[in-house]
């Protein structure tokens, strides 16, 4: 059963999300990964504003393949989130509400997700062609020289994700694995 949600996420929407929920997201999200996160933190350290208004927004950790002529974006699946972990609590502190990636987050990030009332979703890794179909508009808005790592603004329709970390302490990787783990050597 998939629940449809319109971005941007609000505190009320986030409170209604539970680990394991399958969601279809529609609306605006921003794309940033390794290099862009490093630059954003450097920008914040200098006391300067970020290239987009981050409060209330959702970031998708992704670097797309080039778009074929006549398409909006190339293959666009998630990259592994743990590499953005060092930068994430700071962004959550200033109002980032949603993150989409794949893979487990550190305890510090999970704590920050609960503290600042945000949510972490995963999209299916390697399903780049399928996921690109949900992206209706894609524009580079900052750091264009980073190419695949530039900050992009996406408009998506029914973008499929699963809730990994909700605000109640759930973690789908821990819960799912525990259910199917066979103990012993």
């Amino acid at each position: 059963m998939q629940k449809r949600i319109n971005l941007p996420l609000t505190d009320e929407i986030i409170a209604g999300l539970k680990t394991g929920d399958n969601i279809l997201l529609s609306g605006v999200m921003y794309v940033a990964r390794d290099a862009a996160h490093k630059r954003m933190i450097e920008t914040l350290d200098k006391g300067q504003p970020l290239p987009f208004e981050i409060k209330g927004q959702t970031i998708y950790y992704m670097g797309p393949a080039p778009a074929k002529p006549g398409t909006v974006i190339g293959s666009a699946g998630p990259t592994t989130s743990y590499r953005m972990d060092p930068f994430t609590p700071r962004l959550l502190e200033i109002g980032l509400k949603g993150m989409i990636g794949k893979g487990k987050r550190t305890q510090a990030v999970q704590d920050a997700i609960r503290k600042y009332k945000a949510v972490y979703f995963a999209a299916i890794g390697g399903a780049g062609a399928l996921l690109s179909k949900s992206i209706k508009k894609a524009d580079i808005i900052a750091y264009a020289e980073l190419g695949a790592e530039a900050i992009r603004r996406l408009e998506v329709e029914d973008f499929p994700v699963t809730v990994i970390n909700d605000i109640y302490g759930g973690d789908l990787y821990e819960q799912g694995t525990a259910k199917y783990r066979i103990a012993g050597k």
């Binding site: 670097g63 399903a127 695949a148 789908l172």
Partner: protein
């Protein structure tokens, strides 16, 4: 084919759905000729050059790199290679340099195997310089540990390449080349095949499942390649391939 079989065998409904989406993605990618994953990888190229073959009219390495350059451009593949990896990390713009390995073999042909290796699975690789005392159980413990720590990150269900023996770089190469094996094929040595079977069973007992959401299908195969080692050593290498496991070969 392997993914379809595992989908039918999977117990977890969540896992079945993930596998179904992966299969659907492959169909879309094939039909519309879009990269199935946005990470089009580092171009890892294995050349097997027949010792009677003669490369003429140019530099072999340059030719391979030019092939990569053209393919990544015309295929709308992502350019994912940066130079100065510990400082500026500037994209090279054309997915070169390829990483090229050349073996000289009997014959007069040139066999080219290309393996676009994504970063996510590659990052989960491990090299462990075990001592001989660690034994067969040491191999098992370390492979399980590596998979458990990798979790969802390499995009399970994975193929795990395991190298044992040689020295450090040789054992990594064994593990990498082990990823080229067809799923369902075992090491022809009975003792090694037994180890492969046990490792696969234990890895799937971890319960990580497709994309780490929980399930019985964490690995599609564990392939072990072995080489004689030094008296004092038992090097062990573990290299992961994601569920796409992309590689293709040609002989010219």
């Amino acid at each position: 084919m392997a993914l379809k079989k595992e989908k039918d065998n999977e117990e977890s409904p969540v896992a079945k759905e993930v596998l179904a989406q992966i299969i659907k993605n492959a169909a879309i990618a094939g039909k519309e000729q879009i990269a199935l994953c946005q990470d089009c990888g580092t171009a890892v190229v294995f050349l097997e050059l027949g010792q009677e073959a003669h490369i003429v009219d140019g530099d072999l390495v340059a030719a391979v790199n030019e092939g990569v350059r053209q393919a990544y451009k015309s295929g709308f593949l992502r350019k994912s290679i940066v130079k100065q990896p510990f400082s500026a990390r500037v994209n090279t713009g054309d997915n070169t340099p390829a990483i090229i390995y050349t073996d000289v073999v009997p014959g007069d042909r040139l066999r080219i195997i290309v393996m676009p290796k994504g970063g996510g699975a590659e990052n989960m690789g491990r090299l462990v310089m075990l001592t001989p005392a660690a034994g067969r159980q040491g191999i098992i413990d370390n492979v399980i540990k590596a998979m458990d720590e990798a979790g969802s990150n390499p995009c399970p269900p994975v193929i795990i390449g395991v190298g044992v023996g040689g020295c450090a770089e040789k054992t990594m190469m064994l593990a990498k080349k082990a990823l080229l094996r067809k799923i369902g094929e075992h090491n022809p040595d009975v003792e090694i095949a037994e180890l492969e079977k046990e490792l696969l069973q234990k890895v799937n007992g971890l319960g990580i499942g497709p994309m780490g959401y929980g399930g019985r299908t964490t690995a599609l195969a564990v392939n072990v390649e072995v080489f004689p080692s030094h008296l004092a050593s038992m090097p062990l290498a573990i290299n992961f391939s994601c569920h796409s496991s992309r590689h293709k070969e040609t002989v010219i």
